[in-house]
């Protein structure tokens, strides 16, 4: 069966979400696998959000924020970048391929870039196949 990945995407309100919106209003076509969650700033994305997404069945998680220097709260995207590197290291130890988590900068005018990013991420995840976290949890719950 054709594998249709689910990719949870956290987009910051000020740049990336507007960028994604632009892709939509300009009627650009991109992979329908991205499930967008709007947050005020990429600095708002707690590690728990990412881990929960995987646990609930996401095959990939895509985070987008304003370009460095452009965050509306000054430092949010740097904070996000630091968390991202740490979590990427952690999920690899937990047996999750690091490419399942991606961080990119998308500005409000980069609708095209967002569409391409969505396609690219979908391709990457298709190659990796389904993420086994949810399955593993379900099996665990059946023990008792």
């Amino acid at each position: 069966m054709d594998f249709k990945p689910t990719i949870v995407s956290f987009l910051c309100n000020w740049c990336s979400y507007t960028g994604a919106d632009l892709a939509g209003t300009s009627r650009m076509k991109y992979a329908p696998n991205i499930r967008i969650i709007r947050v005020m700033c990429s600095g708002r994305i707690e590690p728990t959000f990412i881990l929960k997404a995987f646990r609930e069945g996401a095959d990939g998680v895509l985070i987008c924020g304003c370009h460095p220097g452009d965050c509306h709260y000054h430092e949010g995207n740097y904070k996000c970048l630091r968390r991202f590197h740490l979590i990427q290291k952690y999920i690899q130890q937990m047996g999750i391929n690091k490419d399942r988590l991606r961080l990119d900068w998308v500005s409000a005018s980069e609708g095209k870039q967002f569409a391409e990013l969505a396609d690219e991420m979908t391709e990457t995840i298709k190659e990796l196949g389904p993420c086994e976290v949810k399955n593993t949890m379900e099996k665990l719950d059946k023990i008792c």
Partner: protein, 328 residues
């Protein structure tokens, strides 16, 4: 309360049991020292394998709800742990997950980085001191001329107590601080109103940092991480500010900052503060905020110095965390 009144009260029936544990939690109960007399004055110990000779059949024979208070320490790692946990749940009014292992999986929970096969291969075949050319490993059922021998089933995963039975309270710590146990015990004996079910007792709401007496600044900044042995601790500055990972910000108070007072950073045995579901995630979030760099490459280099994030940030909590185990 007068002595007479106390004597009139029916004694509490209490049990202590160990699942996958090191024995330290049972010892922490013994550590009440001379207060043990107060404990036995107020409670009859009806089941406690480390100290008293009761058999499982004695436990089975008790009516449901017979035991007032059970302290279950240790994680669930095999069918025996689970079986007794379920039996104790049935026989007990207040079931307490006692200690880090019962609370979130604890040190035995680190086995969730491996599978049952990997563990058996290592222990029974590959350790440097093992000679086992036939690769004999423990079997659940083994036939001998005299009949069948049965061992508990070793599970692939370690679980905290609340993943197999309903738990009334959690009393965290590796092991719990004995004073906290006594406070909780006395509260139960005196019939004080207990907090709402499924909450942590015998620990504080605030974090270790809140209690810690080391010198600290509001905005911690870290340029380089050190393992504790790589640096000479000045004995007074916050560990994190010296670049040594301390789990204080993501750990509940209650132990009396005992490691920090001994000049060792907190490793998180008291579990996360209220409303934090995943202590490791909380700590990763806190650490990332402190890293003093904005350049991607520099950030990566600094994070490279954190050798084992999973083992460090989930040392006591892997099976109770969001991801629970390594995916294989």
């Amino acid at each position: 309360m007068g002595e007479d009144e106390k004597n009139k009260k029916p004694k509490l029936k209490m049990a202590v049991y160990w699942g996958a544990a090191c024995g330290g939690c049972c010892v922490s109960v013994l550590d009440v020292h001379e207060k043990l007399f107060d404990v036995v004055a107020a409670a009859d110990l009806v089941f406690w394998p480390i100290a008293l000779d009761f058999k499982y059949k004695d436990l089975k024979a008790m009516p449901d709800g017979y035991i007032d208070l059970t302290l279950y320490n240790g994680a669930i790692r095999n069918s025996e742990n689970q079986h007794i946990a379920m039996l104790l749940r049935q026989k007990t009014k207040i079931l307490v997950a006692y200690g880090s292992c019962a609370h979130m999986g604890g040190i035995p929970g680190l086995a969730n980085f491996s599978t049952k096969e990997q563990i058996f291969d290592r222990i029974y075949c590959d350790t440097e001191s093992t000679e086992n050319p036939e690769k004999i490993k423990p079997q659940h059922i083994y036939k001998v001329p005299e009949g069948e021998l049965e061992l508990p089933i070793f599970y692939n995963d370690v679980m905290p107590l609340d993943q197999v039975v309903c738990v009334d309270y959690y009393l965290p710590g590796c092991p719990p601080q004995t004073e906290r146990l006594l406070e909780v015990f006395m509260a139960i004996v005196n019939g004080s109103e207990l907090p709402s079910k499924k909450t942590v007792i015998g620990a504080y709401e605030k974090s270790q940092c809140d209690e810690c007496e080391r010198k600290k600044t509001e905005n911690k900044k870290i340029k380089k991480f050190y393992r504790p042995w790589e640096i000479e601790d000045d004995g007074e500055t916050c560990f994190l500010e010296q670049g040594v990972i301390c789990l204080g910000p993501a750990t509940r108070g209650g132990c009396g900052t005992r490691c920090i007072k001994g000049n060792a950073p907190c490793r998180g045995c008291y579990g996360p503060p209220p409303d934090v579901s995943d202590p490791g995630a909380k700590m990763m979030s806190a650490i990332a905020t402190m890293i003093d760099a904005n350049d991607p490459e520099e950030i990566e280099n600094i994070i490279e110095q954190i050798e084992d994030p999973a083992g460090t940030f989930y040392r006591f909590s892997l099976p109770g965390s969001i991801l629970r185990r390594k995916v294989v």
